[in-house]
Symmetry: C2
Subunit: 127 residues, 2 copies
DNA sequence: CAATAAATACGAAGCCCTTCGTACAAATTT
DNA sequence: AAATTTGTACGAAGGGCTTCGTATTTATTG
């Protein structure tokens, strides 16, 4: 179960946009990617075509251009990455990942109380 | 700061062994890797040579064979991965990573109290 | 001494990902 | 009608990682 198909870094970048925008054109995706780094239009297009082959998204022809929609859920992809990092980097200990992340990160008061609330919920569900 | 040099999956596998064993020979590393998957001796050797070039480890000739030692700290590598996943997969929200990891994972009572303790510590340090 | 064993070194193949250049098609503009 | 624009499709180059085969060296063993 561990090794689901993981999107590459570029694919992830595009998935983030698809998750945010819903269904969109290559042009729209490309514009957003191009804001962050230098990249040719056909590069974005090609990656999106490959993503379609891999089943990360579908596309529909509407007029002249294609409109793409993500087929994978953000949460599932996130979980895949968590799984990988826990096993490959934290020797299987999810709690180590959690604690080290918390340790690196200055949490705000709001975040801390949210976290505490979440833990309480965990405790209740456990019983 | 974000994009430190990240070891590949194979390199990570070997780093785990070096971290655990301290200074060891290729033979020893290879035996441990070979327990988990099919791999030729020269493959392990090659990866360790490349890791040395990249600065992940050093080696010392002792008699006939080389003894390798990790040069990078486990914690630093872990943090690099956390950083990457937070930015690429969780849109920069470390707390989202934490909560989702906790949600996926059945924590024991012991782990939960450890976590709570850690959070208290965070709160104190924050003030 | 010859053969075997134990190591390292090196190079090349295969695969995947990224990146573009170029070609092609259809519509729009001049 | 010709030229430009807007899109898609495709192929190939380049780089990195993994993998192994082969060569080489040195020591050990028969």
């Amino acid at each position: 179960m561990n090794q689901r198909i993981k999107p590459t870094e570029s694919e992830l970048e595009i998935l983030q946009i698809l998750w945010q925008e819903g269904t969109t054109s290559v042009k729209c995706v490309h514009e957003k990617v191009a804001l962050k780094r230098d990249i040719g239009y056909t590069t974005t297009l090609k990656i999106m075509q490959i993503m379609t082959e891999k089943g990360f998204c579908t596309r529909v022809l509407e007029g002249k251009s294609h409109y793409y929609t993500a087929l994978v859920k953000e949460e599932d992809i996130q979980n895949g990455f968590i799984d990988t990092i826990v096993n490959q980097v934290f020797q299987g200990s999810a709690m180590d990942l959690v604690i080290q992340t918390l340790g690196n990160y200055k949490a705000s008061n709001t975040e801390i109380s949210e976290l505490k609330q979440f833990i309480e919920l965990m405790e209740k569900n456990q019983k």
